[in-house]
Symmetry: C2
Subunit: 501 residues, 2 copies
């Protein structure tokens, strides 16, 4: 038995509430949403109660090592369960269908074909030697050209503002460390992709302060869970009043898990807010090419003329989502701030990717013909078809959901299936899905403050998707909807022609 000293553990102090209360939910790696969704009620043990949660066997580790291990163990439990019973069409047809992990499994055929071409295997001495830790110059040039084109930047982006590394998880870790002192914080609108909590905390010891969003459409809101400057201001003020030093704002656009796309006007408002308070803005655009609905009119922050505070605006992109290759480990930072780029680069010796992969990525990113004429149209068509199918199923079940035309998931309102509006009931429902061999992610893992929301990933092959949806339906049809329905929430998207209820 041991006690975890608060100071040594460097675990986050209790968050200011209610604006910024946040649990340190955990999951397994990044592919981890899979795991995350298997254990929705993980919490970092309260420090005063650490003896019960952290194994006394970990005495070989430092206190922070025990916390780091705890994150893995919590997830590992889910990981083991899932992999013990993973669905396989032939070998394990009654195994678990995974509609929880945000991976695009629709285009492995296209990707395998492209990545297997002979131009992908190039071995040169320079690729086998120590690299420039910012990334090989040929790759940074290609990334700059790629982002200039796909982000529609008003002027060509510069290779010297690019730093490449092994994924956005690493980028969050590096940015948190170089921008914040220990214990400082970033604002983040919630619900949000929960793994970011670990990314900024495990090495960087940085906290997240949630800007909680409501499903209810009130005031000047035009949609559920709408982020407004007023909500940002309130959360920031509350954090300040409770002594939490906020150094930046994290924006995810297109949003995970909401699927929301910020309009240029909204983006500018958020950036102006940040500028007023001298906050860095990290814009995570990993789904920028996964906008499959043309009407969605996505705009990258790099497309804006005259950023309010370019020295504090840092853009993140990766191939994990837009090229369906989460296992390839390629991510990139774009920032005009030379100090930030340099400091991140200095940490890149711990986040480096193979020279051979850097070559492959440059080949891929420069192949505009394949991207524009083969990959993107086909990928978008497949995403749209899969989305339509799931949306239709949900509609048939009378389940409200947000439909946004971007990303791999639908944010689903299952509140009416909870006997009580509690996270305990949410977990029970999640477990009923799992018992019926379908894995979803529940809202708690995204720090949603209203129990009953789930994220459902649709970017999977038809046969798995159909089976998964059938299992979802079986569970829901077996539940009598609660008498007292929760207050109806406007789940339609007024600015889109895709209105779902």
């Amino acid at each position: 038995m041991f006690t975890l000293p608060q100071e040594e553990s460097r675990a986050p102090a209790p968050c200011p509430s209610p604006a910024s209360t946040q649990d340190l939910d955990s999951n397994y790696g990044d592919g981890l949403e899979r795991e995350r969704s298997r254990k929705p009620d993980w919490k970092l043990p309260e420090l005063c109660d650490s003896t019960t949660m952290l194994s006394p066997d970990s005495s070989y580790l430092s206190s922070r090592g025990r916390v780091i291990k705890w994150f893995w163990d919590s997830a590992e439990e889910g990981y083991r369960t899932y992999h013990m019973d993973e669905y396989d069409e032939d070998k394990n047809p009654s195994g678990i269908i995974n509609l929880g992990t945000s991976e695009n499994k629709l285009c492995f055929d296209l990707l395998s074909r492209r990545l297997s071409q002979s131009d992908m295997l190039r071995v040169e001495p320079s690729l086998l030697q120590y690299p420039d830790w910012r990334g090989h110059p040929f790759l940074r040039e290609e990334v700059a050209r790629f982002l200039s084109f796909y982000c529609k930047s008003p002027a060509p982006l510069k290779p010297e503002n690019v730093v490449v590394l092994n994924g956005c998880a690493s980028l969050f870790s590096a940015l948190a460390t170089v921008l914040c002192e220990v214990g400082e914080a970033f604002l983040i609108p919630a619900p949000y992709y929960g793994a970011i909590t670990q990314h900024v905390y495990l090495y960087g010891n940085v906290r997240l302060v949630c800007v909680y969003l409501d499903s209810e459409v009130t005031g000047l809101d035009t949609r559920p869970f709408q982020l407004t400057v007023e909500k940002l201001e309130t959360a920031l003020q509350r954090a300040n009043s409770e002594g939490v030093k906020v150094k930046g704002l994290i924006l995810i656009n297109p949003h995970n898990p909401l699927g929301d796309i910020y309009s240029p006007g909204e983006l500018r408002d958020y950036l102006e807010f940040a500028k007023r308070h001298e906050l860095h803005v990290m814009v995570d655009e990993v789904y920028m090419l996964s906008v499959f609905e043309k009407s969605a009119a996505y705009r990258s922050v790099l497309s804006l003329e005259g950023l309010p505070d370019p020295q504090r605006t840092h853009v993140m992109w990766a191939t994990s989502k837009d090229f369906g290759m989460s296992g390839l480990r390629f991510g990139t930072l774009y920032t005009e701030n030379r100090d930030v780029a340099t400091a991140v680069a200095s940490l890149c010796r711990y986040h480096g990717l193979s020279g051979l992969v850097q070559y492959q990525m440059a080949q891929l990113l420069r192949d505009r013909d394949w991207i524009n004429q083969v990959y993107l149209p086909e990928n978008h068509a497949r995403l749209k078809a899969a989305h339509s199918y799931v949306a239709g199923e949900l509609r048939a079940l009378g389940i409200p959901f947000l439909s946004r035309g971007a990303g791999f998931f639908i944010w689903v309102d299952l509140r009416k299936f909870l006997p009580e509006a509690t996270f305990k009931e949410e977990t029970l429902l999640w477990r009923r899905f799992l018992d019926n061999k379908v894995l979803l992610s529940c809202g708690k893992t995204f720090e949603c403050k209203e129990p009953g929301w789930f994220r459902l990933v649709f970017s999977d092959k038809a046969h798995r998707l159909c089976l998964g949806m059938r299992r979802v339906r079986q569970v829901l049809e077996g539940i009598s909807q609660v008498a007292e329905e929760p207050p109806s929430c406007q789940t339609e998207e007024p600015r889109s022609r895709h209105r779902e209820t």
Copy 2:
């Protein structure tokens, strides 16, 4: 202008001296010894004097971010200079020859041929999806088999004790973080591969306590710079008495920069010392297959029967040195301590390597025919030939050096060329070499406490090596040896038939 608050910066407090005094010398990445050797007198600015050293322009960064950036900037200066005038046989024959970076450039032909074979390009969905962050099971199995064979373990090593990641720099970072609290320390015999200072400090905020070794052979020593348990005990006691908490011991075997190989008896003595004090031992064996002299009789720590404290013994290996692929970014941990393996794995989401590279590495490591019949014999023959050439040149110049038959470098005693035994004079000599277009690494960057030692890398192609040595000779022949020679040091290796003076 700003001042860097000591607490916020988390910069190391002044080290206990003399046993453990240590500057935070810096370099560029890992390929960085190149840079390191270009700027031998970097120091972490004294905090009280930070206004002069750390740029006031870095106000966008946290204090730790500024320190992290400072490491890059210091190295960047060297990086720029070197790359502005890099030697090229055709394009820049008067450019700088690099005998400073420890890379093996002798076998790119063999490697390129093997890595270009068609079996190396395999693209499967599982390789493109989120991996197990410990490494794909197929790779961990291959690593366990590989290490069992080449380390000659008494029993087969287990895949579950293997964690793979993107290089040993990352592994040092992760181990420091999970084993130590902020500000705690590892013992390390000095001289040592100086980049480790950053690896344990930048993210982990862990310090190194030097166990300084002498060139003079005294007492029961049998060779220069001999590590003994007595020296370990003394350094540990001094650290303890000065309030520095030491949590582990780092051993490099074969040693960088000495080239020393520890005998099984020595290894066991060091491990017993560590066990007595409950210290973790990190054994860095990245040069284990680069022992080109058969008489050298290298033994991996994994070959020992009955490790004294297996739960605190953690072995590191990588392909950077032994397979001459520092740009490929593959390293591995082997430890029987499940807690340590798990905690490191939890950080591996920030140190992950591509699934495609994992596949390639498994293919390479399992190809015993190629390794045993092609690569290793040829590599060793080339290393030996290059070593013989440089040793002969040094002998002809009357320069004492250590000759050990392992690694890519020779530890050279140039003390008699310094007018005074100071690091200032060492730097001046280093600069004379550079002015004559040959880059070496001077002893200061390895925390050698005697000015005048240099590390000379010989693992390069003959034409570059000859030219480099000619330039070295030109510099030394232009210097009149100082009248008062330093106390002669026994640079011969009594247990080896390769005695050099």
